[in-house]
């Protein structure tokens, strides 16, 4: 991409993509640094879903095509759905594990 003929839309899309990548980075740092399962899930689902939304929005803007944009929106919704349910299952499992052996926090 040469700098001369970069349009406003491309600038916005690029900033959305970069912002999305930053949220992914934040989510991953949280996943690695947070102390226990619930905090990690919090970082993973919240930050990454926002990151995915921003990346999808950026790509949709770049594509300039309603079909592609609708497809990206569907991808985001599916990602949201999968993240919700899997986070729920993992948290539930962690709760049970925790109540079984309450001394093992943070080793998961």
């Amino acid at each position: 991409m040469s700098m001369g003929d970069t349009s406003l839309v491309e600038w916005i899309a690029t900033s959305l993509l970069v912002l999305g990548a930053l949220f992914y980075l934040a989510g991953t740092v949280g996943l690695l640094r947070f102390p226990d399962v619930h905090c990690r899930l919090h970082a993973l689902t919240k930050a990454d879903n926002l990151g995915l939304l921003l990346v999808c929005a950026g790509l949709g803007l770049l594509a300039c095509d309603w079909q592609v944009a609708a497809l990206l929106g569907t991808i985001w919704l599916l990602g949201l759905l999968a993240a919700t349910v899997s986070a729920h299952l993992i948290a539930r499992h962690a709760c049970r594990d925790h109540s079984a052996t309450s001394s093992r926090t943070g080793s998961a």
Binding site: L78, L81, A82, T84, V85, H88, L89
Partner: protein, 309 residues
Amino acid sequence: MNLAVDSLIGLGLVALAWQAISGRSLFRGIVMFVVFGLTMALAWARMGAPDLALAEAAIGAGVTGALMLVALRRLVQLHPDQPAEPKRARSRLALPIALLAASLVAVIGLGAVSVDREPGRAGVAVMDNLAETGLSNPITGVLLVFRNLDTLLEVAVLLAAFLAALAVFRDQEQAPAPPRGDLPLVGALLAIIVPLTILVSVHLLLAGSHEPGGAFQAGAVLAAGGVLLILAGRLQPASGMPLATALPLVLGLLVFSVIGLAMMLTGAPLLALPGLWAVYLIEAAMMISIALTLVLLFAGASGLRRERP
């Protein structure tokens, strides 16, 4: 720029492969292996092979990872108290042999890349004759028309692997079903995801004639839906193989060979297909067989039974 992206993917592949081999625990190894498969899918996309990217993500990463996880769970169930991993072998020869093997691959590959290449003749022939088949995805053309004996035998190998695995498990107790509680979220997810996997697999099947996709990718996606149903307890492993299971299991092989052999009666060569409809019919049958085989491999059982929530 492109080279930078490719280098990152390549570095990731090497690091993940190393982690899978030498990481801390077996579970971690499986996770690394699955991520390796997904990164391979990215690499295929970068190499201009979207069909392979789809197949790798669905089959190479998804199905293989699921099978490995379920095998690891069986190991843990068999001897829960035993430390899972035996010690590594110590071998002074391992490193030199690995270096030798790596340089062999490098020499072959760099030799093939650096010579002033003519395009492969078989590849040119595929592109020249593709229009006759009515397909516009050359890979589906190769798989279903030009070299369909390979594909027929590939389906046979998958079936043989399943039957062999079944024979190994024959006199073994079924693994107990995962505990089911009231999981309203999971039910809601299944109600959306399962119809969607069917939709996506049929789309992949039909798209295979003119864009990336095909019976194997479609079958793997369909199998993912089945695996979800097993994990949620809606499908349970069962012993015995009713006709309703056995028939779809061999459907791909059956339809493929019957059409291929019937055409021989009319004087056509072996496995010459009568038209585009035959390609779609065979692919649909193969999709069903592949999906069922993969689901049964995951279940480690010869049959499935439905469980009403």
